[in-house]
Symmetry: C3
């Protein structure tokens, strides 16, 4: 695809070479994110960071990514302060707001809303999440993290072995990630969930069609050996038909250090889309994994910044000028990743 | 008036030459708003964008206008996060907040509040809307739009023929616009509303006194021929004494393409203060006008940015330095207005 | 202490020389706050201004302080938009958010939360208030104000005579201020409150131990003569056991110009942590003091900006580079303090 001036709305718009382009640019952003250098390439540009549904981490990540390239950010958060509540159409909102900035990042609770908005916008639009539908920068940062973690271990996306765990029926992030993974070769995918929260066939079928190996299970312990990546997601109790049903699975999809040590290969990478529920009754990742160097969940967040910087640089066509506008950092900077 | 360091509180403070000054500076901002150039003239300056009542579009427009001049923006939105709720006086709020920034834009639900705030402020204050009272930058952008649209059609503000439609009793924007129009010569003003929502005499009388022609009507179709501008506003049902009363007028002030074609002169400009209610039962502008090149409602929003940039440049006395601090744009920029 | 990269969590971490360092740097920030010069020393740096509890004045003050040094600010306000509400631990929040910025300012309703956050953060953290516990920049700006006001009157912190008035039991600001005052010599402290809102012994005892003079009273008029500083705070009626109890003290801790003239020495400085309750039944400072040149409450707010600029400059190790990155101001600037 031609990134210049493009909207980023769905993972479906990417081919494998597009992914590789994004990741190469993301790699080049590392010195700026780590504050080894500063760039002012977008000095004077404005991001409209329009979050019609709140999401602190995604909003701040997009905003900081734009700031790190030297640009300014104007924001809105929530519905109450919006003309949309007075009956304004997405068309009108888009026509007006797109007159103010150089690029817009938008989150909105309604599926398809961001694409409709982008249709009327006069500047490029990045989908920051439209309900249950798409959140492409999350899928990209997940895939980018997998690639980096594998690279450190001498492996690559082709031949990846990954276990996805938790609510695979409603989880937007695993659906998008699966669709991106289909661009690569010879995957072994293990899908681990309660039966009623299984991955829908519409996502599984294309994997099988493309010749990848797919295993389905509802047993965590015997599914996480022999994989490179364990990708855990939240199971919300209210997804089950009854409390009794929920009780059957209680704690059975929770990963902790003891289970990891007993069942996983050494150096198996642990991922999660975040936020992680750290309350004691949560069905996710235990806090006792925090010291495990293979816990990559915070590296995922750090990588999100790099991927978002890359998207802005590509859309605004400055990827090859970033270094030209670079300077040394003169202040105390943080203690590495 | 002397703009340097001045507050912008009311349309009443402007003479005709002041309007012309603002519009000339606004014209000069066009290349920056269109991203043909970038200026950093206000680099290091801070706008305090204090919205004690939410208004996404006005807040973002002021903020982007300041960013486009190179300045920074600090904001607040809503009451809940404010010391005002703990009994702090506007005097105290103004004394404190005006120590932080170089200029303040303030919106507040209480009439007169912004003027009271400005009295105690140590930096210039722009009224971003104080309840039903004033919203001078909206009136200025409306008048600026009228002038630009007329200029493109070989006409000028003197001799303007305008129809104002809808709720003329409570509509803040039409009241302010009327007061600005009084500065020009030989107007023909047609006031179209339900009888109980007619323009108050306090606004009509000065028009007649100044020798302008005023026509009052409650019939849309026969009022919109023979004018240069149709300025439509919302009628809220709750303004009527009863549902029966509202039903009488239902749909009778709605403008669509068929009515426009049948009754308006060619190239009649259509305006609206926005947001437009696009729901099917709204008494405003139909979506089937969206492709009509005379629909100027989004050009109004774009012009708002120019007018607000002009106000900042004049108040902070940098209007003649903007070009001196200009640079070429190095990133992909949007596809024109 | 070594400021570079340090967290600012509690007033207890400062020694007298640290205070003197902060105040010297704060003094050097004055020309920038007054817009006699602009500095871009932190251009490219990002402050994460994380207010999980709203506080307009503190949030905007920190944000503007960072902008005045040339840096960018990304913010969050309130709980609703936060993953914390979904069970995310402070550890996770800190790990993620600290990957985005160069320094974080955090306010949070829970005591000890900011220290817990700082423990996991990868960048320095400033406590912007953690419930009833600490708000160190407020204590520093109070002490800085006292020092400046005394200096103008030919006196110093050693030998200070101060009366603290109001709710001394629950008032976070007076507790922190007392702890800082203990670093100086030969104080005379007068504690004026209703008996049931007296200063807790844990704060009074160290003062007496260090050889300072402490007087306790519940009579305002006879306590405010013979002091350099009157520091007034709010008494909230709901703090009393009963309405009858509250009625006993009604209005007895209110300071107005008549009482000031009758009982205070000339040039006694009046302070208050703000916001001041200006409603007629408030037990605080009367509006008729507003013209009194010794009312220092707005100078306190202005000094807050200087102290926060100093903290950022010290933590990020740029205090001695601020002037190197300075420029003249080219726009209209405000009418002095």
């Amino acid at each position: 695809m031609n990134f210049t001036g493009a909207n980023i709305l769905s993972v479906d718009q990417f081919e494998r070479t597009d992914i590789e382009t994004i990741f190469t640019v993301a790699d080049s952003m590392q010195p700026y994110a780590l504050r080894q250098k500063v760039t002012r390439v977008l000095e004077g540009a404005i991001l409209g960071n329009m979050f019609f549904e709140p999401s602190t981490r995604t909003r701040v990540s997009f905003g900081c990514a734009f700031n790190l390239l030297g640009g300014e950010v104007r924001e809105t958060t929530g519905f109450q302060s919006s003309a949309i509540a007075k009956g304004e159409s997405l068309y009108d909102t888009a026509r007006v707001l797109s007159g103010y900035s150089d690029v817009i990042c938008m989150r909105h609770p309604a599926e398809g809303s961001v694409a409709e908005f982008a249709e009327a916008s006069r500047v490029p639009v990045i989908n920051g999440g439209d309900g249950a539908n798409e959140h492409p920068s999350q899928a990209l940062l997940d895939l980018y993290t997998i690639q980096k973690e594998l690279r450190d271990r001498g492996r690559s996306l082709d031949g990846l072995r990954i276990a996805m765990i938790g609510d695979l029926k409603y989880g937007r992030t695993v659906h998008s990630l699966i669709r991106l993974l289909c661009l690569f070769d010879k995957l072994h995918v293990v899908l681990v969930s309660p039966e009623e929260l299984a991955m829908p066939e519409m996502y599984v079928e294309p994997l099988r069609q493309a010749g990848h190996t797919v295993t389905v299970s509802s047993d965590l312990a015997n599914s996480i050996g022999g994989v490179d990546i364990v990708y855990s997601t939240r199971i919300q109790e209210e997804r089950f038909a009854s409390k009794e049903e929920a009780d059957i699975y209680r704690g059975r999809f929770r990963l902790n250090q003891a289970i990891y040590t007993q069942y996983c290969e050494p150096n198996t990478v642990i991922m999660h889309p975040l936020p992680r529920d750290s309350r004691s009754d949560a069905n996710e990742l235990d806090n006792d994994l925090n010291q495990n160097p293979n816990l990559a969940i915070f590296r995922q967040a750090d990588n999100g910044l790099l991927v978002r910087m890359a998207l802005f640089a590509l859309i605004l066509d400055v990827a090859d000028q970033v270094d030209h506008y670079s300077r040394p950092v003169t202040w105390y900077h943080r203690r590495g990743v």
